[in-house]
């Protein structure tokens, strides 16, 4: 009973804020609307039994990555570009292409052809589904190698960011 209400609420917030992200001229407003989208998505993750991922989304995405975005926007003081809906250049083609992609995605989602082999959703989920214990168990056994590679990737990103942002003393 509660789930359809919450789902409708979160999806309306996510879609309206997503439209605001691409239509606003002020970069800080765009970033704040993106934070709103991330929080709405986090709510949807909770509805989908992914409690750990939902909180990690708030912690990392909304709490760290978007703060980094806001820092860069505020420090660079980027001026807004021309409004989205003024005609010019290749904008019309961009809209048309996105519409084609959307129709394709709709077809994939709504057709029954892509769902062979998946069980009906009436099977109950195992009790610890989405909990940190389950994530930890799988992450350190089945997915250990990608985990280690990701940690090296993050190290490379840190080094790269520091090197790129240093002023060159020529």
């Amino acid at each position: 009973m509660l789930e359809p209400i919450l789902f409708t609420l979160f999806s309306i917030i996510a879609i309206v804020f997503a439209f605001n992200v691409i239509f606003r001229r002020n970069a800080v407003h765009c970033a704040l609307h993106l934070v709103g989208v991330l929080l709405a998505l986090s709510g949807m993750f909770v509805l989908l039994n992914a409690a750990f991922i939902a909180v990690i989304q708030i912690l990392i995405y909304a709490g760290a990555i978007m703060v980094l975005f806001l820092f860069v926007v505020m420090l660079l003081n980027v001026k807004g570009d021309a409004a989205l809906l003024t005609p010019g250049g290749w904008k019309g083609f961009g809209f048309f292409f996105a519409l084609i992609i959307f129709v394709e995605l709709l077809y994939v989602v709504l057709s029954q052809g892509g769902t062979e082999g998946t069980p009906a959703q009436t099977t109950a989920l195992p009790p610890g589904f989405g909990s940190p214990a389950e994530i930890g168990r799988i992450l350190y056994t089945t997915w250990l190698f990608p985990f280690e590679v990701t940690s090296i990737l993050l190290l490379i990103a840190v080094i790269g960011a520091v090197v790129l942002a240093k002023r060159k003393f020529a």
């Binding site: 704040l32 760290a64 940190p132």
Partner: protein
Amino acid sequence: MDLTFLIASAVKVLIVLGFVLLGVPLVVWMERKVIGHMQDRIGPQRVGPFGLLQTIADGIKLFFKEDIIPSGADRVVFIIAPALPVITAFLALAVVPFGDTVNVAGHAIPLQVTDVNIAILWILGTTSMGVYGIVLGGWASNSKYPLLGGLRSSAQMISYELAQGISLVSVIVVTGTLSLASIVQQQEHLWFIAYPTLFVSFVIYLLCGIAETNRAPFDLAEAETELVAGFHTEFSSMKFALYFLAEYANMMVVSGIAISVFFGGWRGPFLPPVVWFLIKLSLFLFFYVWLRATFPRLRYDQLMAFGWKVLLPASLLNLVITALWVGLTG
């Protein structure tokens, strides 16, 4: 979701809200009196007995002040920004257990607004969202010093979040659970502060907590002698009161978490559990005030160096040692 649960939750929410809104004036009074006595003066003494109504008088004064919004400031963000730290502070307080399970009219009601089974992650998440109130407040003021103060403050907060999270992870390694209620349950015989590596965890967590709440000696970004009060320079009247409330509510959050995780929560010999929680909370808040009265503030580069070069490696090393100890002894 039955009716008992709804009514009990509503009452608990009102209790926590009321406690923070009534407790903060008391904490402010305590701070002014304690700092006054530590500086060999008396502090507020005229308004009400022992100056107890001083904070109320200040609140009434702030209420009647003119509410100024600078020209060129972003109106919507300027109005919303002070509310964000308060919202995140209350969200974090929702998972702190302030008492044992009580029996009211035959129903067992735990004294905790919600018992989330990922409570520690929730705390870390809401404290990271608290950065937005600072950075947006600084930016929305459309003024140089608030912007710099806001950026400095939020850079400080996100730097100390890391060491704070890792020091709490050492506790999770020992307890095996993220839920605050069960962490308090597990401290039945021995508080976690008694374990050596967890004592180090506590020290790191407390230092990071003080830096997170922008309190002395880490309060450079909002000190009057530095950046003209930093991110809350342009906020007057009730917006400033909200920032002020948020600072003390965040102090209560940090203290509440430290009490629940390291000091046995509401456990204690003779008195009822809620009273023990309040006693421990008061001791922590007194410690905060004592630090403010005693230490000079750290320079910004000293502050950031301390967070990144000292606390973060220390908490990582502590985590490794704790994990080794738990793994070897079981």
